[in-house]
Amino acid sequence: MYFEAELRGRKYKIDVTEHRHSWKVSLQPEGQDWKNYEISKTDFKQAEEYISFLFKGQSYLVDVIGKDTEYTVFVRNSYRAIRIYNDEMLLHDSLKKGGGLSGGADLRAGMPGKIIEIFVKPGDIIPENKPLLIMEAMKMENEMRSTREVKIKEVCVKQGDSVEAGAILIKFEENYTLS
């Protein structure tokens, strides 16, 4: 299994392969070469609350706690916080507590309606989930928000306008990313 990790501000690539009696772990610190380690399963023994790890002849009593992508490794009363992740874990995490409608390059009217109030103007940078305008439709006041931080490129309607379903209301700057 392939992972990327961050420890004390440094990035690493890690590859873990399980064999019947041992682990093959390869580490590549950023910008350096791969280093391979073969760890026999008797050297890395897991009990319920700790791991006894014989590494390069040294005996370590290790405890690893954490889940998803954040782990803390305790040993000899010192600890390190490690972020460990791979694409699949990141994708799985991204599906948690998502929000709202998919982001696009513009905000469109989902249905015919009337523009009641507009809160933004071109050039504005609006944080995620803040209302952009209010449109009245289907006897409801729809507060339309963006699902991510956006920069307003163009406001295509004005207060009082009647719009069709699918009409473009606001255009966002493309390729706008957080600096």
Partner: protein
């Protein structure tokens, strides 16, 4: 023994390791121990070890351990004869002491008058002067005006420190090194005194430049006897929180020790002190002069190192004295033997000092010769967020100071505590530091001379070890999603077999 003592049942108005300490003394004396606990402490070790336990309210201290009305109510219900307040919480609360008296329960500690006398710093100083105890040269009273302050300061000689009389914990005090800085510091202290302690009175003291915190343990009984049990040095501290204490102090010459002890006894006698108490001195390591700072009218956290070097059980002695007995020892019988060190193990980040509550996973206390561990940690215990982060004290004794230090290093290496962050690595680094080893450290040690850099603390363990352990654990965590280990029964197969039988 309890047949001779008037106490059959004692309530311990405290928590954590000190509650366990008092429980142990009670048990040795055949006295029933009654523990109290807040909602957050239901699973705390002191509850398991005592004979009885009562819930006294929600987790926040104000609603439980500081709720003296509730504690008295519980004490009456449990029909206790005495209450031991431990340290902190209500141990120096005169209202509580009075309430115990009113309820006919013995308060194991000094009298209400003792506590009041030493509670106000200015009046305490005045009493000390009467007892001929050297005090820090200073204003001998509140300073009203800037002119008065500057004149006193120039007479004593800079550097000086301005302090709010009701202040504490570092608030309301400013060091002034030269005359030009005096005015702004003066104004700042007065306003802090008013804002934090509702009392703008400030006084001035000489500021000692190589200061060490040396304190003398004293003990008085109701028959007028007072003894001292020598000194403890507590200069390893940060923001007035002690980290490491040792006895005896490596910097106090024997002759000065005698003078300090005698002065402490005079101080205690001056106020007819009853029970265990501690006189804190500020010790100038250059001149070897000492000056009275304040008196703590209670048992202290670091009492074990006095017990280790003088062979006196201080908590049992507190119970004896509260029962009206004279002190079990005379001054001439007491000697300091060997050297003891105490390390306060706290659930906090060793670099940022931020508290680190959480669930303890593995916990193995150090054992072996000349070792004492007063702890309430155990595997699976959840360290609560509401209280002091100290979870254990490790005390080592050695014939020499070097032996005690080496033993402590050994103990700290053996001590296993995982699942939460602890400051064990901080202790190990302090014990290795040359300024600690040669004894020249002052109260400025942690804040000025001691730089906490990560590589220094963690230099023992290499990065690949961490990465490999984390990677294999992450791999195993991912593997646990593998359905094969769920051993599912296959309906598909079963129905298929059944259908196949029909033909």
């Amino acid at each position: 023994m309890s047949a001779e003592l008037p106490f059959k049942r004692i309530l311990i108005a405290n928590r954590g390791e000190i509650a366990i300490r008092i429980t142990r003394a009670c048990r040795e004396l055949g006295i029933s121990s009654i523990a109290v606990f807040s909602d957050a402490d239901r699973d705390s070790l002191h509850v398991f070890l005592a004979d009885q336990a009562y819930n006294i309210g929600p987790a926040p201290s104000k609603e439980s351990y500081l709720n003296y009305k509730k504690i008295i109510e519980v004490a009456k219900e449990a029909q206790v004869d005495a209450i031991h307040p431990g340290y902190g919480f209500l141990s120096e609360n005169t209202t509580f002491a009075q309430a115990c008296k009113d309820a006919g329960i013995v308060f194991i500690g000094p009298t209400k008058e003792n506590i009041e006398a030493m509670g106000d710093k200015l009046s305490a100083k005045a009493l000390m002067k009467k007892a001929n105890v050297p005090c820090v040269p200073g204003s001998d009273g509140g300073v009203e005006t800037i002119e008065e302050g500057r004149s006193i300061s120039n007479k004593i000689g800079y550097p000086i420190i301005i302090k709010a009389t009701a202040g504490g914990g570092g608030k309301g005090m400013r060091v002034v090194r030269q005359d030009s800085e005096f005015e702004s510091a003066f104004r700042a202290c007065r306003s802090e005194g008013q804002n934090y302690f509702a009392n703008p009175t400030v006084y001035i003291e000489k500021f000692v430049s190589d200061p060490k915190h040396i304190e003398i343990q004293v003990f008085g009984d109701t028959h007028g006897n007072v003894c001292h049990l020598f000194e403890r040095e507590c200069s390893v501290q940060r923001r007035h929180q002690k980290i490491i204490e040792e006895a005896p102090s490596p910097s106090v010459p024997p002759e000065v020790r005698k003078r300090m002890g005698d002065a402490a006894v005079r101080a205690a006698k001056q106020i007819n002190y009853v029970g265990a108490g501690t006189i804190e001195f500020i010790f100038d390591n250059q001149t070897k002069e000492f000056y009275f700072m304040e008196m703590n009218t209670r048992l202290q956290v670091e009492h074990p190192i006095t017990e280790a070097t003088t062979n006196v059980d201080l908590v049992k002695e507190q119970i004896y004295v509260a029962a009206g007995r004279p002190l079990s020892f005379k001054q001439e019988d007491l000697v300091q033997h060997g050297h003891a060190i105490e390390a306060r193990i706290c659930a906090e980040d060793p670099i940022t000092y931020k508290p680190s509550p959480g669930v303890i996973r593995a916990c193995r206390h150090p054992q072996g010769p000349f070792m004492r561990v007063d702890s309430y940690a155990y595997p699976g215990y959840e360290v609560p967020i509401y209280y002091d982060p100290m979870i254990a004290k490790v005390i080592t004794w050695g014939e020499t100071r070097e032996e005690a230090i080496d033993r402590m290093q050994r103990a700290l290496t053996e001590f296993v505590l995982t699942g939460i962050k602890t400051n064990i690595v901080l202790h190990k680094t302090i014990l290795d530091h040359p300024k600690f080893r040669d004894g020249s450290y002052t109260t400025q040690f942690i804040e000025k001379n001691f730089e906490v850099i990560e590589p220094q603390l963690f230099k023992q363990v290499e990065d690949p070890m961490f990465l490999i352990a984390a990677a294999i654990t992450a791999y195993n965590d991912r593997k646990s999603k593998d359905v094969r280990q769920l051993n599912l029964v296959s309906n598909w197969k079963r129905l298929g077999r059944k259908i196949a039988l029909r033909t």
